[in-house]
Structures are given as structure tokens and as C-alpha cells.
Amino acid sequence: MRLVFTEEQEELRRSVRRLLEKTSASRELRQVIDSDLGYDPEVWALMADQMGLQGLAIPEEFGGSGYGWMEQVAVLEEMGAVLLCSPYFASVILSATMLLSIDDPEARRDLLPGIAGGQSIATVAFTEDDGRWHDAPIRTTARPGDGVWCLDGHKTYVLDGMTANLILVVAATPGGASLFAVDARSPGLVRTPLETLDQTRRLARLELRGTPARLIGAEGAAKAALARTLDLACMAIAAEQVGGAQRCLDMSVEYAKTRVQFGQPIGTFQVIKHKCADMLLEVESARSAAYYAGWAAGEDPEALPAAASLAKAYCSRAYCHVAAENIQIHGGIGFTWEHDAHLYFKRAKASELLFGDAGEHRELLADRLGIESLRLGGGRIDA
């Protein structure tokens, strides 16, 4: 098991950090939040053209660079640190993974190069109004039509659903949960933006009324693909959470060194020191969990489901706690709209709720491994 980065991976991380520091600092973040589009197309293009980030983990044959998941972890950690507003997660993590998890070479050839190059923005629409992420009943239906399939139903909490030009929809056919590609300009598709708690990640609700769609892979193939995609999404969001949590800690430490009350920096107060020490403990622990999941994604696929739930459960709580403490340490100023602390707090809670909260993932972990096999030497997680 390898939980550290190579020098090459660290160099990638530093490049991403430099790009984001230049293009996506706090001022730019506020502009993007208030923009109609919700992301900065210039930054998106820089990410693709200068650094090839969208294609990082996509195989070379589909226009990507074929790197592994640990590279992706490093990139996502940096994006999480600056709360990057972009359809990266929807397009690269969710959609590319979904396409790569279903056996349909033609669809891959058609759709992945656009995602890898950043020309296409894709998303996956699977959750419905019941808000369930795992093993949820699929009420959206697909019926075969004249050369194409037609979809009816609704989807919600769709990441970047308004900006995506390609929407991968999970719908039920007689053969089971199946994946369909929908062009965002299709007739019968009504997209409504949702006002979100997390101001840095856009969501939409979709209504599908006889919307034409292309079947990806076989009927019934979406169930397993969605499960794998969710595992990788949990791993990926855990990496983002680590980056955000680290930034909260950094903000707190910096503020504690400079804010003076009672004639001394508040960082001289032992209680502030201990809060920061506990935050460090949680951030470093979260980092271990996320890197472990990243390692499992690449090197031990059998261990991935449990590792992903472990990471999602731990990192979600750690980020929420650290983001709340960051507000507390800042006092009144940390509670204002103008200060960034609340953006991290909201991101923390929203990313806990996305794809299932900590309690749900603790249960998933036990279900997946069987609680008996958690014992010493009993579990596949021992890898």
C-alpha cells in the first residue's frame, strides 16, 4: 500500500496549485459564484489546454493522458482547497467514470475525447426526488422509439445540470437500470436551476418528457456502473474535502497568529492552540483516509467500495468539524457573508450530504464487508 506521492505527482500538484492561485483565488471565486454560468470558461480552457486536467485519468486512446487515480487525488485536493467552481467533478469524475464502467466502445470513442479535451461538459443524472443515492428505485423510464429511446421522468441534484451539454441519464427499461446519453438541447428536456446551500457547486433538476436518448451499453448495465461511479465519486469528493479542510486549518492558524485580543495574538491562548491541534489531527487523518481510497481505486479494486465508504464517512465529518471550528476561531468576522469561512462551511456540509452522509457510509461499510470480516485478518480491506 502506498499512501504518499511520487516526486512527479507532487510536481503535478504544484502546477495545479500555481494555476488555481493565479486564476481562482478568493476574488475570482466571488465573481464566479455571482455569475450566470457558474464557472469561468477561460479557467476551464486553461485547465484543459495548458495542463490536460480533464483528460488526466482518461485512457490515451480516448484522448486522455492515462494517469492513475493518485494523480486525480492530488488535483482534486487542490481544487477543493480553493473551492473551485467548475463542472470538473460532474464531467471528469462522474461522467467519464460512468462511460468507462460500461462496455460500449463506440460510445467511449464518441463521447470521451470531448470530455478529455474539455470541449464537452458532461454530467450524470441518477438521483430522483426521494434524494436517495444508493440502490435507489429508478422511476424514470425509457421506452424504445423510432431509432432512439425516449425518456420520461425526472432527475434532481444533478451536478452542473444547467451547464452540461451531455447528460448521462439512468433510466429503467425492462432489462433494468440502463444508461442513456441525452443531448442537452434535446426536445422534452426541461432544466431548472436549484438554489444551493453550497454556493460553489451548482445543481439542477431535470424533467424528461419523451426526451430522445441514446442507449449506452446493454440494458441493465447501469446498476453496476453506477455503483462503481459512486465509489469513485466518494473517493474523489473525499480528496476535495481534504483540500478544503486543510485550507480551513490554514486560515485559522493564520488568523490566530495575527488577530490580537487582550493584548496578544489569540493563538497564544491555549484553547485556540488546542483547537488548531485537533483540527490538524482531523485533517491529517482525513488525508490518510482519502489517499488510501485513492490507492485502492488504482491498485486494489476489490478494496475500493469499503475504502471509499471509509473515506467518505471520515472526511465528511472531519471537514464539517474543521469548517465549523474555523468560523468559531474567526469569531464574528467568520460569520459574515464577506468572509470566505462560510463558503467552506457550506461546502463541507453539502459534500457530506452528496452521495450519502457519514452515518449512511458507516452502514455501507459494514454491509459491504460484513461486520464479521472487519476483524483482524478477516477483511479484504486488509489488502
Binding site: 487582550f262 468559531q328 460569520f335 450530504l353
Partner: protein, 396 residues
């Protein structure tokens, strides 16, 4: 903390008689609000622990909660919730430290809500360390020239008056160079700007004071004695704050409602949410009981036990509103900051708003220090600003 006090039966009799007489003479359903509240004041039921003639009956505070509950149950408008700063802070401060003229001018109007008040204590550089505040009041021929910036001013945009603490002697020790004023908010140079908070609304304000000329008649307490007066204001704040939450109300009621509305009550994850709910329900009820017990024990005025309650309450509320978010699950991803700014009620608002509860009105960290020193008698920590004139103490 062993000794206890319980309501004197004489006090109960006096209060019951006054209430009965009031309600008979001024049936709430058929009395105009201002008149009704004026009558409550005149019958001494406004602040029963004030002297007779200025809204009180000269009793202890033990029956404060009882009077409030009885009157509001009988249809008297909720005079605490509607004028929290006037009732809870301005009234007791003026009653204790005001001149006869100030008492006559303000107290009845505070109670009837004619004068809305705000509090001008906190500053960007003086949060936990309130006594380090920098707003200056310089004596002039006609009074005082005030310059500075205040923040976290609830009701600042509606208030006619503000409770202002300003520095009149920068060469004195920080607690000793302060003076307290009853500031007319309509004076030239007072500018109120809304301050938006993380929940999206602008409950608070910033108040900029630029060359505001304040007459000396607005001063309350002696020059340099502002800190003592401010302590009266803050000590009374808590007497009032605790009074308004009914048992099993607020956060825990919202959580229970969400639990009731929930479809999945039996999955393993739901069971765990349920246990969090029960644990918080117990802690909430125990906090309520502690408040009730403190009220029964309290002979005269608020004590430092109020700090204990506030620490507990803010933590319970934050955890309960986070539980509410978890009970709502994915639906909690939706929130409208724009609606919050418009004042529209929505789920999730209190999840955000409650984060301030452990900061405002004394952070939990400062309150734990207070409890350790004043209740437990633990020795003071080193303070580099101690014994040093205000203008020589480092500030950020």
C-alpha cells in the same frame, strides 16, 4: 451552590393581585396595544424588580418568568421578544444608573415599544476583548464629539436610541477610560449599514459614527465609569434571553417534526439518527430544567450561572440544527440566500444562523473563562494587557 431560595408567598400574592387588577381594568382583547403596555408599566408589572413608580413593584426577580408567562398568556403582546434590547438591556441599565430625567424620559417608552433600542458595544477590533474598544468620545464645549465604528448592531436600522460605550481617556487602563451614552440615533453623523451574514440575511448592521456631537445629558454614569454601566447591561441581557424558549420548543421541536415526517424510520442509519435525536432531546430538556432551577434559586439579579446555560444552549442548538439538516438529507442541499435576505422563512436557515450562537453575546471560550474564574475560583491567567494604559496595549 447548595442554598436555595423559593418565591416568597407574599411576593406571589402581590403579583397575582396586580395581574388580576390590570387584566380587569384593561382587558387585553379590547385594549389598544400602546395603552395596554402603558398600563402594564403603570401597574408595576413591566420589571417587577424595579422600584415602584418606574415600572416595578420592588420585588425580587424570582417571579419575573411567571409574570411574563401570565401576561402573554392573557393576551398581552410579547414585550420581551418585540423589544429585546430595550426591555432586556436599556431598561435595567437606565433604571440602575440613569438620572431622574433619563428614567422619566425613557423607561415607559422602552416598555411600550415607542423607542426602539440598539446596542453599540462591539467593534471590528474589539470582540471578545470588548473593553479594548477604540471608538473615541472627545469632550467639546457642548458635549462630546464621537468617532468610531460599531458592528453586530441588531435593530440598528430601526432604532431611535443606542447604548453606546466610547473611550474618553486613552491614557487610562482599558477598563477605566470608558464612558457610556444613551445615543440618539437620529443625530447627524450616525450612519447605519446592513451587514450580511452567512445565512444570507442582514440581521445585523455596522454603525459608523463620524463627528457625532452628543450632549452631555446623554451620558449615563460618570465619566470613566462606562465599564461598570456596561456590565449592568450585559448581566441583565441573560435574564431576558432565557425567558423566551418554551420547553421542547425551537430546535428540538423542528427535529422531532422532521423525524415524524420521515419515511425511513427503521434502517440502521435511521436508528442512529433517532438516537442522536433522543440524546439531544434529553440535553435540551436538561438545559431547560437547569434554567428553571436557576430561576427558582435566584434571589436577586443574574449570576454567572447564566454563562453555563449559554454555553450549553449554543452547543445543543448547533448540534440539533445540524441533525435537522441530516434528517432532511439531500433536501438540505437546497437553500436560498436570496430568500433569507428577503426575510422568507425556510428550512436550513437556523442550521446556518445557529453557528453564531457560540460567538455572539460572549463566545463560548470567553464564557468558559468566566465560569472558571468567577464560579470555580480558578486562578487568573497571565494577561499582557493588565496594568497597562489602553493606548500602549497592542491591538490588531
Amino acid at each position: 451552590m447548595g442554598n436555595s431560595v423559593h418565591p416568597d408567598t407574599d411576593e406571589s400574592a402581590i403579583v397575582d393581585a396586580a395581574i388580576a387588577k390590570l387584566l380587569q381594568a384593561h382587558p387585553p382583547a379590547r385594549t389598544e396595544t400602546q395603552e395596554l403596555l402603558g398600563a402594564v408599566f403603570d401597574s408595576g408589572l413591566a420589571w417587577i424588580h424595579f422600584p415602584v413608580g418606574i415600572g416595578g413593584l420592588g420585588l425580587s426577580t424570582v417571579l419575573h418568568q411567571y409574570v411574563y408567562s401570565s401576561l402573554t398568556a392573557a393576551g398581552v403582546p410579547d414585550y420581551i421578544s418585540e423589544t429585546p434590547i430595550g426591555y432586556g438591556m436599556a431598561g435595567p441599565t437606565i433604571a440602575e444608573h440613569g438620572t431622574e430625567a433619563q428614567i422619566a424620559h425613557h423607561l415607559r417608552r422602552i416598555f411600550t415599544g415607542e423607542f426602539v433600542w440598539c446596542q453599540l458595544f462591539s467593534e471590528p477590533g474589539a470582540g471578545s476583548d470588548l473593553a479594548s474598544l477604540s471608538t473615541r468620545a472627545v469632550p467639546t464645549g457642548d458635549g462630546w464629539l464621537v468617532n468610531g465604528q460599531k458592528v453586530w448592531t441588531t435593530l440598528g436600522h430601526l432604532a431611535q436610541y443606542g447604548l453606546l460605550v466610547a473611550r474618553t481617556d486613552p491614557d487610562a487602563l482599558k477598563h477605566q477610560g470608558l464612558t457610556y451614552f444613551l445615543l440618539d440615533m437620529t443625530l447627524p453623523g450616525v450612519e447605519v449599514r446592513p451587514l450580511r451574514q452567512m445565512s444570507g440575511d442582514a440581521e445585523f448592521n455596522e454603525v459608523y459614527l463620524s463627528d457625532v456631537l452628543v450632549p452631555d445629558s446623554a451620558r449615563i454614569g460618570g465619566v470613566g465609569e462606562g465599564w461598570g454601566v456596561a456590565m449592568t447591561t450585559l448581566a441583565n441581557e441573560r435574564l431576558v434571553l432565557g425567558a423566551t424558549t418554551p420547553r421542547h420548543g425551537g430546535a428540538i421541536d423542528e427535529a422531532l417534526a422532521l423525524w415524524s415526517a420521515r419515511e425511513d424510520k427503521t434502517s440502521a442509519a435511521a436508528r442512529v439518527l433517532r438516537d442522536r435525536l433522543l440524546d439531544l432531546w434529553i440535553r435540551d430538556d436538561v438545559a431547560w430544567l437547569t434554567g428553571a432551577r436557576a430561576a427558582q434559586r435566584r434571589e436577586s439579579g443574574p449570576g454567572p450561572e447564566g454563562s453555563v446555560s449559554k454555553i450549553a444552549r449554543s452547543s445543543i442548538n448547533q448540534q440539533t440544527y445540524e441533525l435537522c439538516a441530516d434528517l432532511r438529507g439531500a433536501a438540505s442541499l437546497i437553500y436560498s440566500a436570496a430568500a433569507a435576505l428577503d426575510g422568507t422563512a425556510q428550512p436550513g436557515y437556523m442550521f446556518l444562523r445557529s453557528r453564531a450562537q457560540s460567538i455572539e453575546g460572549g463566545s463560548s471560550e470567553v464564557l468558559r473563562d468566566v465560569v472558571a474564574h468567577r464560579v470555580l475560583g480558578l486562578p487568573p491567567s497571565h494577561r499582557p494587557d493588565k496594568g497597562i494604559p489602553w493606548n500602549e496595549v497592542p491591538r490588531s
